[in-house]
Amino acid sequence: MKITIDAKNKTWSFPGTAQESCLQSGLAAGINMPYECATGTCGSCQARLVEGEVEDCWPEAPAREKLGENVRLLCQCNPKTDCTFETNNIVYDYDNFTVTPKRTTGKITHFELLTADVAEIKVSVDKVIHYHSGQFVTLECKEVPGARAYSMTNFDAAAEELSFVIKRKPGGGWSNWLFEYGAGVVGKKLRVHGAFGKAVFTPDIGKNLLIIAGGSGIAGMMAILSRAAETGYFKQYRGDVFFGVRRPEDGFFLKTFQELAARNEGKLSITVAFSDAEATEYVRKRYPELQFETGFIHEVAAEKMDGRYKNVRAYLAGPPPAVEAAQRILIIQGKLAPADIRLDKFN
């Protein structure tokens, strides 16, 4: 049977059985259902039954007395049919898995140039990799010695395909190998190890998100944004994203940003800062949901975030000078606690 919970931020569905309460089935499916006692006394799991039939396991449950018509305790009802409940709560899902780095192999399935010196690749892995949004893996190929760390841009709790953005760096062995082959890298085998990284996001942090990223540092942030948007996080919390590149022609993922901003009705604000040029009319018209500024990313973020640091968790990534400058602003101007500033250092 299918149980549906229509919450304020998102509609969740999961399988149920006649032998188990709707609350137990939801928790087992990784949904962070509202509850406290789980035994019919506190009333925290109340929800209005709008469709379907349930078995009321304890009609005299103490918490039942004050409930309105068709309002049930999810911990005390087992489904008889498919059923749908409405709740006034915000309900998120858990990252209900443990991340321990694993080794596997995989192959490149996709190569696409996003700009002149940034490419997206996709890698299908032979064993599922569990990871939190914001984490990275290391990739190795036989043609180039050593492993390189890249953050996943996609979020899938049990991913069989990982997406990355790779910036071509002068003298960079791995990136130059990729760019020289171009689409010819498709089919190349890789060793994959991970996941790693502490700058992770899970919805239970309960804070407004601030993301400041320069260039290909945006990679892991895309997974964080995807994780947050998919779970309806921006119905409850604000998101401020600052993405810095040099010029309009260096911008990438702008279409994805445009779609994310449009979907999140003003709770997610995305600013693209160009350090070396003004935004063109073309980008302004093409991406009307995005804001464009000129200047260094940390300076743009400092100006726009002034006085807006309450209950904020910040994620930083990108060129080390920009990250350090952003870190300085968050501590001195924003008075953020270090525990609320998350970054993984690659320099």
Partner: protein
């Protein structure tokens, strides 16, 4: 006490590193005057002069350990205190005592 620098060498609200008898020390011109500490983070030997300072709290830029510069007490993520040195300013000159 050992002479470290002129008081004018460290602007108000700023920090600066100096070598004293082969040891790196940090001179802090904070909200309550001059203070001095070891110049090296007790965590991973990073120079604290590259850190952040807001007048009261010193933050190592490397892993964001923080200390109250009045006491050296750890704050936030820091797992240990900062060694502070006795400081005196006389005739515009900053002196400290480094315990042996």
């Amino acid at each position: 006490m050992k002479y470290v620098c002129e008081a004018t060498d460290v602007a108000e609200g700023k920090i600066k590193g100096f070598d004293v008898d082969g040891e790196r020390v940090l001179i802090i011109n904070g909200d309550n005057g001059f203070r001095a500490s070891t110049g090296v983070c007790p965590h991973q030997e990073v120079l604290l002069e590259e850190g952040l300072f807001d007048g009261c709290v010193l933050t190592c830029h490397s892993h964001l350990w923080q200390w109250d510069v009045e006491t050296g007490d750890a704050q936030g993520l820091a797992e240990g205190p900062l060694e502070m040195y006795q400081t005196k300013v006389e005739d515009g000159k900053v002196y400290i005592t480094i315990p042996k």
